[in-house]
């Protein structure tokens, strides 16, 4: 079943076309990697889905419901949670209250009643934040900030989780840990769309990858197929590297 259906998504910023006529579906329970060189439009696509700004044209349906142009808080409450590429903690609130505050707002009442609620304590335990319970948002290290971003997103009881470069700048051990988390969340029934630059990790964890280049979708398929796609190699490495 399609959880997210995007049709003809175009986003212009003045003369710059950040996204051009992008179509895609995300099926319930999938892990989809979103790849592309810098400036390809990946984060713009996330912003359009999460409601940060509306698309210039095109429509987005979530679980069969039109969500194009809705405000971000509404989209979050309907069940799409995101993390930020640059973590945005509440800097003078401690970890516990960072998560608690989000859990107070992030989920519609009727939806909350239907789902078993993730408790703040449980989420902190799960993401290794229990020891940092009293640390302020501004005092956390990079990996802890990423964990806090994911933990906050999860207490909104999302059906679709948008992860924006959660592995960037992490060491191999931490990267593996994030891969584990992503797989575990899928087992718990959460669909995941992740932007990632770490090719190996993305290829390893995704069921399917989509590649954006200059605002257009140039590939969509199984990781091993997309890897061999000439256009993808060209987008990343340049024309001379495309094998004959």
């Amino acid at each position: 079943m399609e959880l997210l259906e995007a049709r003809g998504i175009t986003k212009r910023f003045g003369g710059l076309v950040a996204l051009q006529d992008v179509d895609f579906d995300i099926l319930e329970g999938e892990i989809v990697g979103l790849l592309g060189p810098n400036g390809a439009g990946k984060t713009t696509l996330f912003n359009v889905i999460a409601g940060t700004f509306p698309p210039t044209s095109g429509t987005i349906k979530f679980a069969g419901k039109q969500i194009t142009g809705l405000k971000p808080h509404k989209i979050c409450r309907l069940g799409i949670a995101r993390t930020f590429q640059i973590p945005k903690p509440f800097p003078t609130m401690d970890v516990y209250h960072n998560i608690l505050a989000v859990s107070a707002f992030g989920c519609d009442k009727n939806r909350r009643d239907h789902h078993e609620r993730r408790q703040v304590g449980e989420v902190m335990e799960q993401f290794g934040l229990a020891e940092k319970k009293n640390a302020l948002g501004s005092e956390l290290a990079v990996f802890e900030l990423r964990m806090l971003e994911i933990a906050r997103a999860l207490v909104t009881q999302p059906r679709l989780l948008l992860l924006d470069e959660v592995m960037a700048g992490l060491n191999p051990k931490e990267t593996r840990e994030i891969s584990h988390i992503v797989r575990r969340l899928r087992q718990e029934g959460i669909t995941i769309l992740m932007i990632e630059h770490n090719m190996r990790a993305t290829m390893g964890v995704s069921d399917r990858v989509m590649v954006l280049d200059q605002g257009m979708k140039i590939a969509d398929g199984k990781p091993e197929e997309v890897c061999k796609d000439c256009r993808v190699v060209e987008a990343y490495l340049g024309e001379p590297y495309v094998a004959g």
Partner: protein, 310 residues
Amino acid sequence: MNRIRLTGIGKYSPFGAFVALAFVPSFAGDYYTALLTSVLCWIGLAVSWHFFSGTTKYVSLGTAAFFGIGVYITAIFGMSLPFPVVLLIAAAISFVFAAGVGVVALRLKGIYFAILTFGLAELLSNAILFWENQVSGTRGRFVVSIDVYYPILGITFILLVVILALRRTKLGLGLRMIGESEEAARHFGVSTTLYKVLGFATSSMFMGLLGAAFAPRWGYIDSSMAFNPLYSFMPAIMTLFGGAGWIIGPIVGAVVISLLQEYLLTTFKDYFMIILGGILVIVILALPQGMTGKLLTRRPLFVKRAKRGV
């Protein structure tokens, strides 16, 4: 959140303080009663300002606009309607007016919001002056004569109780999240527009209420008194001076600065602004988090960390 709560007997001390304050006029002279009235009014304005601007970091310099609206409501209706009714009208009009302004102004951030709100007070002041000059042909108004000590004491007390309670509601939490990171707040389910407008209107409502209660002290008012820019700047300065982290900050700031101002004004009549300005600069340089900033560090001296929970 570093919420600090008084424990044991300390919990009731604020109530005790207000009961004690109710008896002040019976033994203190007129001068001290009048001074205390001003101090209480400043506390009310600073705490109201802090509730919205201190929490969300949308710095408003429009306090005088709402205070002045209150003053004029009393000047207009004070003679014909019972005082409590006048106060209710002032609260309602300030709330509605601030909500209307907020819908437009709260799209702006930082310095732009500050300038727009400052301009609002000036606009009202000059609009009323224009009206008086050109239309009604009057200058200023007489205000009904009422003892303002108890109204101001009562309103400040209620305002403190209501604002402390509101800070623990979803409105208070949402405003806090907006101040911490508006981008994160709106992506995690906070309807930022609604919360900002409600917060701004609530804070302005108390400012209008204080203006309405304070007006009879003057006997006669005009637009330059009612919308004096001092009312816009002082609550912001008091909050910064006292520390914006916790509600005790604006209270301490209001008490210290208003007493200091009074002392300097009576002692060094001509130089008081220079001295006051100098002291403010030194304190803000020495204590960037305000006088109570240190209280918010990990281990406060005489208070316990609050129990967890919203």
